[in-house]
């Protein structure tokens, strides 16, 4: 692994800590990404059937 990817990945994970609660930034990003996709899936309208024969 070389270049900026190596600089980005080849170090220990960064953790956020508040009292007993601790989470890595990576896991937090993945959870926030999933919540964003979930919100988009609920809010963004599904494309209509072009033939107009959807029940």
């Amino acid at each position: 692994m070389t270049g900026w990817i190596a600089d980005f990945m080849n170090h220990p994970a960064t953790y956020l800590k508040s009292g007993w609660f601790q989470i890595s930034v990576t896991n937090l990003v993945v959870i926030l990404l999933m919540l964003t996709i979930f919100a988009c899936a609920v809010l963004i309208p599904f494309p209509k059937d072009k033939h107009g024969d959807d029940k």
Binding site: V30, I37, F38, C40, A41, V42, I44, F46, D54, K55
Partner: protein, 207 residues
């Protein structure tokens, strides 16, 4: 009337899951929402996991640790698992908030929950059989956890042979079987309607 068990099974199958329900070409209007897409996305990711996993099993670690094609297939397997879990968790959230166990769909919900747990076990054993320093680190950390709850002698995370067989044989069989049952249950009861929707057919209320 035949009393053969095969005839009884066939009649029961035809009554509860006719081919029109098994392979429908039409869905209720409420299915036209992105949140209903994540179940089949999870299945697509699972198909890619199985496909890349079979290649990895045939070629072996000496191939997937060294060659470009091997590293690519290894990464394909890994990232398919990441997408599998992302899609499955969003599918789980969607089904939880629409109370998808309504209309006699408890077995559908329960098989989904068991599939989720089986997926975690399969992914965990996958991390343990990478045959690299990462898997060594994870197994040596995990053994203390399993020993502390008294199952370390039975489920030995540092035993590569046991973890490999669980990952490539036993757990995929369990997960595959549960997934098939889960999909058949979905086809039998139909896709769960939104809470405020008026069901128009018996299948939509699960009767």
């Amino acid at each position: 009337m035949s009393e053969m068990w095969t005839a009884k099974l066939r009649n029961k199958w035809q009554k509860e899951l006719p081919i029109e329900k098994l392979l429908p070409d039409d869905q209720p209007a409420y299915v036209a929402s992105w949140i209903y897409v994540f179940g089949v996305l999870t299945l697509a990711a699972l198909a890619m996991i199985i496909f890349s996993g079979i290649i990895l099993a045939f070629q072996g670690p000496a191939w997937y640790h060294t060659s470009h094609a091997g590293k690519f297939t290894n990464s394909l397997h890994f990232w398919s698992v990441q997408l599998f879990f992302v899609f499955m968790v969003i599918h789980l959230w969607g089904k939880f908030w629409m109370a998808a166990w309504r209309g006699k769909r408890f077995a559908t919900w329960a098989t989904g929950a068991v599939a989720f747990i089986a997926s975690i076990a399969t992914a965990f054993t996958g991390y343990l059989v990478q045959t690299n320093f990462d898997s060594q680190w994870i197994s040596f950390e995990a053994k203390d956890g399993f020993n502390s709850v008294g199952v370390g002698a039975w489920f030995t995370v540092t035993n590569l042979g046991q973890m490999l067989l669980l990952h490539v044989a036993f757990l995929p069989l369990i997960l595959g079987a549960i997934t098939v049952v889960h999909v058949l249950m979905v086809r039998k009861r139909g896709v769960v309607p939104p809470i405020d929707a008026q069901p128009s057919t018996d299948s939509e209320v699960g009767r």
